[in-house]
Amino acid sequence: MKILSRIYIALIVLFLYAPIAVMVVFSFNSSSSVWVLEGFSTRWYEGLGNDTAMLNALKHTVIVAVLSAIISTVLGTAAAVGINAIRRKFSKKIIMSVTQIPMMNADIVTGISLMLLFIFFGKLIGLNESLGFGTVLIAHITFNLPYVILSVMPRLQQTDSHLAEAALDLGCPPLKAFFKVILPSISTGIITGFIMAFTLSLDDFVISYFTCGHYQTLPIVIFNMTKKSVKPDTYALSTLIFISVFVLMVLYNVLQTKSEKKHAS
């Protein structure tokens, strides 16, 4: 049984990684084909530095991901604190239901409805170009927010509110009480929310596709590339991203195990 379960896990992992392995192998192809292997070469990696379109897109992706993650974390944490303080069950329920819409809805519907909004308002105020950096950022913040709120909320509910009340009773200003008392106890929720927001934003294709205008992010550029003939350079870039994610995750894992061992001993 144990062996069988190991084999099963290995097979699923193989399934998950087969296309990634293909991508890594073909990124070293000497010809420009992603179908036929012809020889080993690192030319696609060397060429990456000159591909301004792709590097620009990478830059755009990172900027949008960082900004949208920060803004949605701040806005979302404040929202969670505020919603938590709302007493009326009914209004709370309505707000939480609206919050869940972008999370539950199909990306394509969220993307299209936002695009219609931006174009509608763009026309209203007479812009000759309504889509761009601002709109893609707004869109990303919008779909990040529910994830932040829903990861902060449970922490907040677990927090002992008496502590904060005691601080207020002793004359501590509310803002200070928040930073000194509440924030430390919900910080894991905030960090999880931030990481989720950042990841979602990095990876988003569908919503950006409808809202980004000229401000093309990496998934959009890759989408346009797969409409023509994908060249190994796209694979090379993806391989680099894969390796950096892999290294980061392993590092994180090792550090966590170490710190746990320390605690244990």
Binding site: N128, L131, K228
Partner: protein, 368 residues
């Protein structure tokens, strides 16, 4: 031992492909017009078809980079894959472009909907290079809105090794069971309908709904024979032998031939579509003056030749056509003798109702 031989052979072949590939080699650009840096620091947004400009790969001219160097204008270059996608982007008002390169019928439509800026050809010192037969065409009778970029015909590309030499020179090959699962067709409705309309002997711009219905029926019948509907994905599929028969633009055939020497091409006997892709400036362009400079630059003999050689499309520019060093000089596929050619038809901008009719009909073909 044999294996090593085979390996060496493929290596040599792949190397020689690299070397013989068509590409305009140059040291220094010879320019007819003068370019100054008066618009330095501004940005020009160009919206062109995919794979439709010489981009500097393999030692060719990088047209946009040269323009940037010369004028200090930053070129933002974006691509589309069909006239309709381009149209929808501009019409929505979501995005603005300074230069677009639509085809004839789309220019007619954009002009009818008042979406183009006039181009003052007297400001284009290289405009005289355009061959006369590409001036005053139906979509721009007074040459006010467009400057021809490329011209071309649609034909059928096939892989001789996979299909055999004996192939009927007809659109019917896409419906022929001999090529089941190996045939491709266009994924944009207008071109896909054209393949059926030609077989049915229709006028491509028919206003009769029954004609479109008949063409849709034919497309539905042929669907199970097809491997897939494609646009530029055709390059990979034909170059590797994944597919064996496909309709596409003649110029792209020559590009594919560089990679796969087994490919052949014909113009079907029933006739085909002819098109002119021209440079236009949309009404909501932000940098009109830079756009004019860019158009003039595209007309430069060196630039036009670089583009013509890199893309493989026929050029409307006399400086290219008459250049004996041009690698497709008097090429019979690009510049066929008109007397040997089957009947050709342009697309026109069709009445709104009919257009909506066939564009919706296409979803039924796809869902069939």
């Amino acid at each position: 031992m044999k294996k090593i031989h085979a390996l060496l052979l493929t290596l040599i072949i792949s190397l020689s492909v690299l070397l013989t590939g068509c590409g305009y080699q140059y040291k220094e650009l010879n320019l007819r017009a003068n370019y100054d840096k008066s618009l330095q620091g501004t940005t020009l947004t160009v919206y062109n078809w995919g794979e439709y400009i010489s981009d500097g790969a393999d030692g060719t001219i990088d047209v946009n980079k040269e323009f940037e160097k010369l004028t200090g204008i930053k070129v933002k270059y974006l691509t589309f894959e069909s006239n309709e996608t381009m149209y929808s982007q501009i019409k929505s008002g979501g995005i603005s472009y300074d230069i677009i390169i639509p085809s004839d019928y789309m220019i007619e439509r954009l002009r009818n909907e008042n979406m183009l800026s006039k181009i003052d050809t007297s400001k284009l010192s290289n405009y005289d290079l355009i061959e006369d037969k590409y001036k005053n065409l139906f979509f721009d009778p007074n040459n006010e809105y467009s400057v021809p970029y490329n011209v071309g015909l649609v034909g059928i590309i096939y892989n001789e090794k996979l299909t055999g030499k004996d192939i009927k020179h007809s659109w019917d090959v896409l419906w022929d069971e001999k090529y089941k699962d190996m045939a491709l067709n266009f994924s944009n409705p207008r071109d896909a309908f054209m393949t059926a309309q030609m077989l049915l002997g229709q006028d491509l711009n028919t206003l009769n709904k029954a004609d479109w219905d008949a063409a849709a029926e034919l497309l539905k019948q042929g669907k199970s024979n097809l491997q897939s509907y494609v646009m530029d994905e055709i390059f990979g599929k034909m170059e590797t032998g994944e597919a064996s028969v496909a309709p596409y633009y003649a110029g792209d055939y020559l590009t594919m031939l560089d990679t796969n020497p087994d490919l052949r091409f014909f113009y079907p006997q029933e006739g085909t579509n002819i098109f002119v892709d021209s440079v236009c400036i949309p009404k909501n362009a932000k940098n009109y003056d830079a756009a004019i400079k860019y158009i003039n630059f595209l007309l430069e003999p060196d630039i036009s030749t670089a583009n013509a050689e890199c893309l493989g499309y026929a050029s409307p520019n006399t400086a290219v056509i008459n250049n004996k060093d041009y690698c497709y000089y008097q090429n019979e596929i690009l510049y066929p003798d008109e007397s040997t050619l089957p009947k050709v038809q342009y697309y026109h901008d069709i009445d709104n109702e009919i257009r909506t009719y066939y564009e919706t009909l296409w979803t039924k073909v796809k869902a069939y």
